[in-house]
Amino acid sequence: MTEIRMKVNGDVEALDVEPRVSLLDALRERLGLMGPKKGCDQGACGACTVLADGMRINSCLALAVQYDGSEITTIEGVTHPLQEAFVRHDGFQCGYCTSGQICSAIGMLAEHEAGMPSAVADASPLTEAEVRERMSGNLCRCGAYNGIVDAIMDVAGKDGR
């Protein structure tokens, strides 16, 4: 067992975990934060996306011990216009990928703001094609992809990007 401390959604949490426990399982099983979802446990779907020190990561391939001292934000700690926009634009159906989509979108907007390029373009306007590429790490089997893009474009537009 290793003792770690993380600031999770604003609260400092100390917990004893085995090194093999993933950040995702630490959040879900130890801290009871069921917002981040487990879709594959293989890094291949993005349902487990959380923000670690502001960066979006797949928490299923992260060992909790590696994030000792980090600040973690899960969907439970999010209050963001994207949430309402997802409802308005029907950016989900079953809702299972949604926590990951929203956390990912928040991280994505920050990355874009910071000048991070994408495989689509080096340039800055956040086009729909850009959003699609940048959000491709989040699968949605219900196929709510159009609504997700609309929700993001809506919010990004309001921010004057």
Binding site: T2, E18, P19, R20, S22, D41, Q42, G43, A44, G46, T49, M55, R56, I57, N58, L61, A62, L63, V65, Q66, D68, S104, G107, M108, E111, A114, G115, M116, P117, S118, A119, D122, E133, R134, S136, G137, N138
Partner: protein, 330 residues
């Protein structure tokens, strides 16, 4: 995943010593490959030495005009680096074409170099795989081998090296700096990975306990006109079927410099020297590009599922060179 001890390395010496002394120990970078394989029971270290706290997380100018990339620089940070984007655009493009944004935020340069194959039979502990379990055979030879290699393969293994980043590095004459108990070594990227031969389980020329500390890029003006082109089964978030990293300098219609490497077709990032030789000094036209591609792929040995890769690689090489020579995007 079995239990293991976790050590967060505070300094290089300690990290190298810890792993060199213990055959069951492994370095841990972003964890995006190692944790996955540990969960599948394919990697079974008893100690994991986390190196992400070591101070190799910057990209620095070299006196000769090259760049020194710390082994712990995250894939996303490297892709975003202005100098990389202007001086070696193919490297930034290669990184951005790999995995997903979340994974790129986690993955390190060192881990990317050492990521293991995605051959499905390697991933399935119930299948025969000489790489996973030497001597057990290779189920890919007559199985699903659509993703497998056509160059540099052996009868014991046809798995590919899956990295995109490494393909660009191979084309760029990158040099890997490694630190072992006996000190520092510098290995050209093209000598860093091994071909399978009879020992596909040995994938690199690293000795036990050697830590990758940096990758150095030489100054390479031709690389400013470079491109990474990745062909895969969906538009994003998939490994390459074939990829091409190319840099080209054309003067008066003639190729004065060319750098070319291939991904998805070989057990290691494949520097296409044969093609470069054919291109060098020749006309920058479609026919010459085709001759170069064909020269490189002359030795390709496809199987039922992956024979198409030779044609695809040829087409992708030609398309990428055409794009670089005309400056016209697709």
């Amino acid at each position: 995943m079995r239990s293991f001890a976790y050590v967060k390395a505070a300094d290089v010496e300690e990290a190298v010593r810890a792993v060199a002394a213990d055959p069951g120990a492994k370095f841990l970078g972003g964890g995006t490959n190692l944790v996955d394989l540990m969960r599948e029971g394919i990697e079974r270290p008893d100690t994991v030495v986390d190196v992400t706290g070591l101070p190799f997380d910057t990209v620095d100018e070299l006196p000769d005009g090259g760049l020194r990339i710390g082994a712990l620089v995250r894939n996303s940070a490297l892709a975003a680096d202005r100098r990389v984007r202007t001086r070696y655009p193919m490297l930034s493009q290669a990184l951005l074409s790999g995995a997903s944004a979340q994974l790129r935020n986690m993955a390190t340069v060192g881990g990317n170099l050492l990521q293991r194959t995605r051959c499905p039979y390697f991933y399935d502990a119930a299948s025969a795989c000489n790489k996973r379990e030497p001597g057990s055979g290779c189920d890919a030879l007559d199985g699903f081998n659509r993703s497998c290699a056509i160059l540099g393969v052996s009868e014991s293994c046809i798995a590919t090296h899956p990295s995109d980043m490494c393909v660009a590095l191979a084309a760029l004459d990158a040099v890997v700096e490694v630190r072992g108990v006996d000190g520092v070594r510098r290995v050209p990227l093209t000598d860093f990975h091994r071909l399978p031969g009879d020992t596909p389980e040995i994938e690199t020329t690293l000795a036990a306990g050697e830590l990758v500390t940096a990758v150095e890029l030489p100054p390479l003006p031709v690389a400013a006109n470079s491109r990474y082109r990745k062909v895969r089964d969906r538009a994003s978030y998939a490994f390459a079927l074939v990829s091409v990293a190319a840099a080209l300098e054309v003067r008066d219609g003639m190729v004065t410099q060319a750098r070319l490497a291939l991904g998805g077709v070989a057990p290691k990032p494949w520097r296409a020297r044969e093609a470069e030789r054919v291109l060098q000094g020749g006309p920058a036209d479609e026919a010459a590009f085709r001759r170069a591609a064909e020269a490189e792929l002359a030795g390709a040995t496809g199987r039922q599922g992956n024979a198409f890769k030779a044609g695809l690689a040829r087409a992708t090489i030609v398309a990428t060179l055409r794009e670089l020579s005309t400056g016209e995007a697709r």
